[in-house]
């Protein structure tokens, strides 16, 4: 095969995207666990480890820039490199949201959760599932699968609605709960934003496969 080394560089980029997505998924899982268990020490570690996700993004971007500068990619190769550049940014922002939940855990301190985590856990599980499916669609160059992932964004929006209304009613009933309720609203909001970022990743996958740039689903938030 001609240009074998260039093909290898592209495969390496894909591997980097997978690695970065795993780092981000781990960060989400750790942050939700820390939220459940009030583990401020683990939360501090999550916040610190976000640096590694940021570094991974810069490394990926540098590889993309080098490839564009030295290999003159065109057509689907160029679209893939551009897609990777954008996906890296989205993954890094997802990492920031996980870090944000870590910061919420630190702020929360030893205060008990205002309610047990049910919908928030579901939001996290759904968000992670969306991310995993989107990366799978990226590797398989499956635009249809990428579009279907975005359908789950509605489910997350519904869950967020429910969490928000429930916590609002807590706050209305007892203003002393405002601080604790707000923490959970922020956490839920971060998870809702994670799903939006995954939708952006799916749009880039469609672009990679078809060359079309279009919004797949517009979140109500």
């Amino acid at each position: 095969m001609v240009r074998e080394s260039f093909c290898k560089y592209i495969k390496d980029l894909e591997k980097d995207v997978v690695d970065m997505s795993r780092m981000v998924i781990a960060a989400i899982n750790r942050s939700i666990e820390a939220l459940k268990t009030h583990n401020a020490d683990e939360a501090e570690r999550i916040i610190e480890d976000d640096m590694l996700i940021n570094k991974k993004r810069w490394d990926l971007e540098e590889k993309c820039i080098n490839l564009i500068a030295t290999q003159q990619p065109v057509a689907s190769d160029l679209r893939e490199i551009i897609a990777v550049l954008n996906i890296a940014t989205e993954l890094e922002r997802i990492g920031d949201y996980a870090e944000g939940i870590g910061k919420i855990v630190v702020m929360q301190g030893t205060e008990p959760l205002i309610k047990s985590l049910v919908d928030i856990l579901q939001m996290a599980a759904l968000g992670i599932s969306m991310l995993e499916k989107s990366i799978d669609a990226f590797l398989k160059r499956d635009a249809k699968a990428a579009e279907m992932v975005c359908a789950d964004d509605d489910k997350i929006d519904l869950l967020y609605d429910r969490v928000y209304r429930e916590l609002l009613s807590y706050m209305i009933e007892d203003p002393k709960t405002i601080t604790r309720a707000t923490y959970l609203i922020w956490a839920a909001h971060n998870l809702e934003r994670i799903a939006d970022r995954v939708t952006n990743i799916c749009e880039r996958i469609v672009f990679l496969v078809t060359g079309r740039m279009e919004e797949i689903k517009v979140s109500k938030y």
Partner: protein, 254 residues
């Protein structure tokens, strides 16, 4: 730059008669890498390349100053064995220049001239290895008596490279080796160079910047006989240090 150079020039100046073609060129070419020399026409890149195997000696009224150190020896020393030097530093030119002989005799020619191998089996073995090295053995093993000029241009250029490497060089110099080839053949030759660099130090002069960016590990930019900048190819093409380099590679030149 953290490597032991295979070739190092120190204060290299070259005059063609009264014309200063190379001015104070100091370059360190790393071993077992591909180094590209780029620059506009007339900048001295081919002149520099021809210094490394002293081919400029064949041009009248040429004067060279400075040092060219290869494996610790200054090859400008008058005692240099030029025949041996040109065996160890082979050259491939712009247009494939296979001899009007069979493929077999094209490859055997150098072995005979340099008295390298005698026995028929040894010669055949060396020819096979040479052709395998350049990816031609499968296609040509049953056609070795065929005239080399009946091959495609890409095959001819591969044969020229095989002709060089059959003599067991250390360094391969290529002067715009793909200029006469179509884009696909060009990419195939570039793939071949990437394989060869595992064993040889390769220097390629090219006016095709995109080729230099694709294939080389290090790039030197020359202008008006001077080496303006030298560095890792990725750095040269993403963050050049000199404005002149930036202008040239981005086309804001002239």
């Amino acid at each position: 730059m953290e490597f032991a150079p295979k070739i190092e020039t120190v204060g290299l100046n070259l005059h063609y008669g009264g014309f200063l073609a190379l001015q104070d060129v100091n370059i360190k070419v790393p071993a077992q890498n591909i180094t590209a020399i780029i620059g506009p026409s007339g900048c001295g890149k081919s002149t520099l390349l021809r210094c490394f195997n002293r081919m400029n000696d064949l041009i009248e009224h040429t004067e060279v100053d400075g040092r060219i150190v290869i494996d610790g020896r200054n090859i400008l020393d008058p005692n240099t064995d030029l025949i041996f030097l040109r065996r160890k530093i082979g050259m491939v030119f712009q247009r494939p220049n296979v001899f009007d002989l069979s493929i077999y005799n094209n490859l055997r020619f150098g072995l005979r001239i340099h008295r390298m191998l005698d026995g028929k089996d040894e010669v055949m073995d060396a020819i096979r290895q040479g052709l395998e090295h350049v990816g031609l053995w499968q296609d040509l093993k049953d056609k070795l008596r065929k005239n080399a000029r009946t091959l495609t241009l890409e095959q001819q250029q591969r044969l020229c490279i095989a002709r060089v490497i059959i003599l067991k060089p250390d360094i391969i110099l290529l002067d715009e080796p793909c200029s006469a080839l179509d884009p696909v053949s060009t990419l195939k030759i570039e793939d071949l160079l990437r394989v060869l660099k595992q064993e040889y130090t390769i220097i390629i002069v090219t006016h095709n910047m995109q080729q230099a960016a694709r294939v080389s590990d290090y790039t030197g930019f020359m202008y008006l006989g001077q080496l303006i900048e030298f560095g890792q190819t990725q750095q040269i093409f993403t963050k050049p240090k000199e404005k002149l380099t930036e202008n040239y590679i981005s086309g804001h030149f002239g």
